[in-house]
């Protein structure tokens, strides 16, 4: 029975990408995710949403998690399933993400009084994909797992 089940279970298709921690290389992750999502049959607007979410996640990993250390890598795992695409972005955790920041909704009046107008990335990711989870990567760094559902 278990053998039959394992034979019937479709293989998950996984793409692994390891990028340098330099701003600009998030475009490689965006275009890889976009290419894969189009191949899976996602509509253009969903592909655009995914690209933006991936861009934010990888930029956060480069800027905050890896602190722009070019020797550190950002690892992007793209897992293809029949009905969804899962994108995990992991850094090497030079700076760990404060979990408080993963649930807070930024207030525009607060941002206006800050010199740094950033801080919208995590909120944006939550708005753009169907599931988001912030965890610790097996390597010990920060990991964000994003899922988008394929609606045919």
């Amino acid at each position: 029975m278990s053998n039959n089940q394992s034979e019937m279970k479709p293989l998950e298709k996984i793409i692994e990408l390891r990028l340098p921690s330099r701003l600009g290389y998030e475009r490689v992750a965006m275009d890889t995710a976009s290419s894969l999502a189009r191949r899976m049959g996602f509509h253009g607007d969903r592909v655009d949403a995914l690209k933006t979410a991936v861009s934010e996640a990888v930029t956060n990993a480069i800027e905050h998690g890896n602190q722009h250390d070019a020797a550190m890598k950002v690892v992007v795992l793209l897992t293809v399933r029949d009905d969804e695409l899962i994108v995990s972005v992991a850094d090497q955790g030079r700076q760990m993400l404060d979990q408080h920041h993963t649930t807070r909704v930024p207030q525009i009046q607060d941002i206006l009084h800050k010199d740094d107008k950033g801080g919208w990335g995590i909120w944006l990711i939550r708005e753009l994909v169907d599931e988001v989870e912030f965890t610790t990567a097996p390597s010990g760094g920060n990991q964000v797992r994003m899922v988008i559902y394929l609606e045919r």
Binding site: K13, D31, S35
Partner: protein
């Protein structure tokens, strides 16, 4: 003023399944564009890389489910090197002098096998790395 580009590397691993070479092609193309290579050279690279990945999937890994193709890109000294590794169920590096495209078109041999010839035309360097354990490694290089 001449723009200077830093050294950089990227790795990609895809399922050994026809169609996934497109994902590798698009990832490496964006990497090359980011490094400042001109779009027409990046188009050459896309064609060459697609051919090399299809060879790895079809001939190296023999379309075996569950195997992988690894693509490693390193840019240094004004040269982008792209290595395509398969898990080598079969050695497919040519050991005899291959026919030219003209000889193939003239009917002196199979019309298959033009991929390697095409890659050689498009890239500044192309060839198998010798003495690679556990698979084949095909290397491409593009000069700035």
């Amino acid at each position: 003023m001449k723009t200077t580009y830093h050294s950089a590397s990227m790795e990609l691993s895809i399922p050994s399944e026809l169609g996934y070479e497109i994902i590798a092609r698009d990832a490496v193309a964006t990497f090359a564009l980011r490094l400042g290579f001109p779009p027409e050279r990046v188009e050459d690279l896309k064609t060459a890389l697609s051919e090399a990945c299809i060879n790895a999937i079809e001939h190296g890994n023999l379309l075996t489910p569950g195997l992988r193709v690894h693509v490693v890109c390193v840019y240094e000294h004004e040269r982008l090197i792209v290595e395509i590794h398969d898990q080598g169920s079969q050695r497919y590096a040519c050991t005899t002098t291959p026919l030219t495209m003209a000889q193939k078109v003239a009917g002196l041999g199979s019309l298959r096998g033009m991929g390697l010839l095409l890659i050689e035309q498009l890239m500044d360097e192309a060839g198998f790395l010798p003495e690679v354990q556990d698979g084949n490694c095909f290397r491409l290089a593009l000069y700035r």
